[in-house]
């Protein structure tokens, strides 16, 4: 399964957060998009549920943009399918 930025963005949008969705792009940090810590919990849960994976607490601080997530999830995917 390939992880694309569009797929990650669709999952983020499915979490029904209250931020300005027009600001959703690949490189802007979630914080700069107006996504706070509680909304980010929702994003990580939506990713876990959609992709059937577990994102450990120790990894989440480094995942601050869509591109971060794409890289992380692709690496995770490679590890689990290797």
């Amino acid at each position: 399964m390939s992880i694309t930025a569009d797929k990650v963005k669709n999952i983020i949008l499915s979490a029904k957060l209250s931020f300005d969705q027009s600001k959703l792009d690949n490189d802007t940090t979630f914080s700069d998009m107006g996504i706070d810590s509680l909304d980010s919990f929702n994003i990580f849960l939506a990713l876990e549920e959609s992709l059937g994976i577990k994102i450990p607490d120790e990894d989440v601080d480094a995942l601050t943009t869509v591109n971060d997530l794409v890289s992380y999830l692709s690496e995770h995917n490679a590890k689990t399918t290797a």
């Binding site: 029904k16 209250s18 706070d36 810590s37 509680l38 919990f41 929702n42 990580f44 849960l45 876990e48 549920e49 607490d57 989440v60």
Partner: protein, 308 residues
């Protein structure tokens, strides 16, 4: 049949203005208003013990529904922040302060946010098994005893308060079938840190738990009581935060009007959050009310109250 005759809530007068502390934690006021939802937290005075809160809740109950102290056959206190070091049990101290008869059974139950629903089941079964006609369930978990005022995760959220519920043979509400559960593998998610002796909470773990576990538990409770989701007039959830209450409502496809958040002016009262709503916010049109508590343990319990 033993059921709920009346419920009261006691909130200390003092309030901590959480909104005024937003900048201290580098968050917008909108985060507090829209997300945690707690703009003011009730705080007990330093010289008030847990048992004092219990006594005030009991007095409020008697004011609402007069009854004689010597009619009370059992007294349960649900708390995890007892007087002193928990020995003797707080219910014994409350029993003494109220001057209840020596024939009255008094014991504590150690549970957090799920405690009210568990304790209702325990006191009802205890009374029915032993032909006790009147019993009082008190919840009081003043987290100000263990809060770290520098911790954003907890210090903007919790409030102090106590509830008292009178159970008798003349109930206004019957208690339906309940659903219970625990996940002790996540016990550290909400705990008093053994080193600092202050409350710590893994916000993400607690959010994931509530969002994933509680909606199916609510659906199971509705089915177990031979109801449909639409037949429940009001869903009274533990008031963990506005965000959590709304997230559960969203996942259940319920409007927020049916799943209210009432804790804005007093905070997350732990095991007293559900009875606080039962005491003050139930309207005549609410004939069938689902109650669901979840948190410390991690632990959960849900049931249905039906107006008689």
């Amino acid at each position: 049949m033993i059921g709920i005759e009346a419920t009261s809530i006691y909130l200390p007068e003092q309030r901590a203005n959480t909104l005024a502390r937003a900048s201290e934690f580098n968050v917008d006021e909108s985060f507090i208003i829209e997300k945690t939802g707690v703009t003011e937290a009730a705080v007990k005075s330093l010289d008030q013990e847990t048992s004092d809160l219990c006594v005030e809740a009991y007095k409020a109950l008697k004011k609402k529904t007069p009854f004689a102290d010597d009619e009370v056959g059992c007294l349960i206190v649900c708390t995890q922040n007892p007087d002193g070091y928990g020995l003797p049990h707080t219910s014994a101290i409350v029993h003494g302060k109220l001057g209840l008869p020596t024939s009255c059974a008094a014991f504590d139950i150690s549970l957090g946010c799920s405690g009210y629903v568990y304790s209702l089941n325990v006191i009802k079964a205890f009374m029915e098994a032993n032909d006790i006609r009147k019993g009082v369930l008190i919840t009081a978990d003043p987290y100000s005893k263990v809060l770290d005022n520098n911790d954003k995760n907890t210090s903007l959220l919790f409030g102090d308060g106590a509830s008292a519920t009178l159970l008798s043979e003349n109930p206004r509400w019957s208690l339906g079938k309940s659903v219970f559960g625990s996940d002790g593998t996540q016990a550290a998610g909400i705990q008093v840190d053994p080193g600092s002796q202050k409350l710590s909470m893994n916000g993400r773990a607690v959010f994931n738990f509530t969002a994933k576990v509680i909606p199916p538990v609510i659906r199971e409770t509705v089915e177990k009581n031979d109801l449909t989701m639409g037949e429940v007039d009001l869903y009274v959830l533990h008031q963990g935060s506005r965000y959590i209450v709304n997230a559960i409502a969203d996942r259940l496809g319920l409007p927020q009007s049916k799943v209210p958040f009432h804790a804005a002016c007093y905070g997350n009262l732990v095991s007293s959050s559900i009875p606080a709503i039962l005491a003050n916010d139930i309207e005549d049109k609410h004939k069938c009310v689902l109650i669901a508590g979840f948190g410390v343990g991690l632990s959960w319990a849900a049931s249905v109250l039906t107006k008689i």
